[in-house]
Symmetry: C2
Subunit: 444 residues, 2 copies
């Protein structure tokens, strides 16, 4: 990690030490939330009414408001803990990296096996299973990008066989405004939408329940300080405005989409619900899993200068394994575990997160603390890594067999989709994001 | 007005009486805000720091918080005034029509020439010219529609000469998610965006200041109570969720738009700034200006059943005259008044506001109090009523002459665009919306 680019990749420090152990039962060796992770979220403890900020550690959650009241923080860490004590984390995200890092360092010390604060902190812990998890921020705006190049190519083939990847794709980290109001936290059921469906040979559309319901495997990005209207964020400073990451399932009604999407893009096909994982995994926690942006294929144009930063190219990409799993009603009745539909990786992003932020603000559009960006579907190049059913069934043509004896072209009522992320690398303790899970309810 | 459909068109009552006079100086005969209008907004009085809700009357603003403290309201009117006393009107809009109507009736009585409360109310009045106006709500989500059929046809010709109006247009009240964070109140300058521009014959795009900057003349719609996620609003009840109207200038960078808009729709071309008029003109104030939805041209399909309500067809459209005016630096130096670029009318909406709301929620997407909808550009069929330069210059081909001797194909730095609305009808006092005005600053 180069010291010349602290904004892009926070240096590794003692909070990443693989030898670090925690006194919290179950934290050491936890698949998602060992002491090296320390993601932030909003939860309500059992018997309480008011949501507040917390930190996931093993199978527990540390109440930041309670820990703050107990006097466990001082200085910048206290400033951050206080900002993270409310019902949403916008104010905390607005603080930017230094207070967030100070809080992380202090939390690491408090939760470490040798902590002198163990007894006091233990009073601020709750079993996660007893707590309700909420949206971590009041999402002002949500923007969905399209930077998964294999997905863009696969989907392009379905909608425009002759012209899958449009000429702007390799110049523009394209995105569109999504619907912020319908984003929900993991665990919230999603109702199958109705909409206008038109068969290719039908004379007119009809209003009916969606018949081609799909998921999309995405990385979510939480915006930190952000920018004032009219003041673009340069790509070299863009990482300073990224406060963390989550998983995002951008549920999609393919039949509604096919009929509505011209000329203004996706609208009702994607605004009936989007599901995110509840925890904000920080750039600090992901520092060990940074990689160079994969080289563009021979012949691809270089990014325009305002989107090109050598430090970002050198370590602005992420190496995160992503999974999609399905659990149908029949599978649950038969006692079968969730079945993996896809295995992909964030390295399939054609543009880095910094390039997305720089592009988004390049015309002056303001990003604000707690805003959410989606990467777009992150498919691997091979069919085993396709991040949507649209891709893995070839537009619904080939049914996918499931262990229950069923098959799927698109999602059925009762189907549950689970997204998981895992960061693993030699010399680092692997961490996860927590689940992004939701079940399909029948149309109203 | 039929009593069977009070939700679509609130009956006329004494607040609309053309004989009604106000004791507020300048209110009687005021072009925009006579006592028959009474629009709501958020303002800061001179010498004060905290914004609060107010009502425009003539050239004055009545402070609702002060009037409430003075004991001028009781019952439902007090509930509404209290909800409208804060720094944003979301809570007021959430109350829906009955409290809003009660407050209107009481305000009409307080401000009427024969009011016994005149002296007390006079202490709550401020000269509008001394006050700062703010966004009336914290806009959760902003959706821009495309229901101006003449605009859709004109623009379609520029982008797709062979196929101007797509097959879905007459079935789908299409829209797209806009950027909520960059909406600003009238009077806030707009900075010319930079973006990726690509000439048709250029090999690659370049990042440069927009060269084809345009305005769009739109009606804005403020959402009232709204709906829960997964629970569509039927078209027959949709008007209950409309809390009011404003003017909206959806600034558009045509060169950025042309390069970026496929396949996901407008993004940075329209997210560098949108300007709205500050006052929420209520459905009650507009009750005298309701008209039947103009008949669809022979051969057009009927709306699908979930978008069709006879009462809405009978009186769900609006008869509002809309104007676009320009004032350039040279015009101001020469002492010339703003020059009218277009005269249009809200009757050119192919879909009603109720149909827009019903469509938006038809897949379960939730609308929330204070959300903003845009109609899309409302052009008249004739060139004198085209609501954007893209249309009135034929895609930039024909320059428009101005009284200053200048011409315009697209907007230049220093140009100010002013939108105005006027509701006028025999037997009713005419009302306006207040200006939607902003000036273009040079690119950063």
């Amino acid at each position: 990690m180069s010291e010349a680019t602290p904004h892009t990749s926070p240096a590794l420090d003692h909070t990443h030490d693989p030898a670090l152990r925690s006194w919290v039962p179950g934290a050491d060796g936890h698949a998602e939330f060992p002491i090296q992770n320390l993601p932030f979220g909003v939860f309500t403890p059992p018997g309480e009414a008011v949501p507040r900020g917390g930190v996931a550690i093993g199978d527990s959650i540390l109440d930041l408001a309670a820990a703050s009241l107990a006097g466990l923080f001082t200085g910048e860490a206290e400033q951050a803990a206080s900002a993270a004590s409310g019902t949403a984390l916008n104010a905390f995200l607005a603080l930017g990296a230094p207070p967030r890092r100070a809080l992380r360092a202090r939390l690491s010390a408090i939760l470490a096996a040798d902590s002198p604060d163990r007894e006091q902190a233990a009073h601020c812990l709750h079993k996660a299973v007893d707590c309700a998890l909420h949206l971590p921020t009041r999402i002002g705006d949500y923007t969905d990008f399209y930077v998964g190049i294999h997905h863009a190519t696969n989907v392009g083939k379905v909608f425009r066989p002759e012209n899958p990847l449009l000429p702007n794709y390799k110049y523009v980290p394209n995105g569109y405004h999504g619907r912020a109001s319908s984003v929900r936290t993991s665990g919230t059921d999603v109702r199958r939408p109705r909409g206008q469906l038109k068969a290719p040979d039908a004379e007119a559309p009809r209003y009916a329940p969606c018949e081609r319901l799909d998921y999309e495997l995405e990385l979510g990005i939480w915006i930190g300080p952000g920018n004032a209207l009219g003041e673009p964020v340069p790509v070299a400073g863009a990482a300073d405005h990224v406060a963390g990451f989550c998983l995002l399932n951008d549920w999609s009604a393919r039949d509604i989409q096919a009929w509505e999407y011209q000329p203004l893009g996706p609208f009702l096909a994607k605004s009936f619900g989007s599901t995110i994982s509840a925890w904000i995994v920080t750039p600090e926690a992901l520092a060990p899993f940074r990689i160079p942006q994969p080289a563009r294929p021979q012949g691809d144009p270089a990014p325009l200068p305002h989107l090109l930063d050598q430090a970002d190219q050198g370590q602005g990409a992420l190496d995160l394994e992503l999974q999609v799993l399905i659990s149908t009603s029949a599978m649950r009745e038969q006692g079968l575990p969730p079945h993996r539909l896809a295995l992909s990786n964030t390295r399939h992003m054609y543009w880095t997160v910094a390039q997305m932020v720089a592009h988004h603000t390049s015309g002056g559009c303001d990003l604000n603390p707690g805003d959410l960006l989606g990467s777009g579907t992150l498919s691997a190049p091979d069919p085993g890594g396709f991040g949507s059913l649209l891709e893995s069934t070839g537009g619904g043509g080939q049914a996918i067999p499931l262990p229950s004896g069923e098959t799927r072209r698109f999602l059925e009522d009762g189907d549950e989709i689970i997204l998981r992320a895992r960061a693993a690398r030699d010399g680092a303790v692997s961490i996860g994001f927590g689940e992004c899970r939701a079940r399909i309810l029948p149309a109203a």
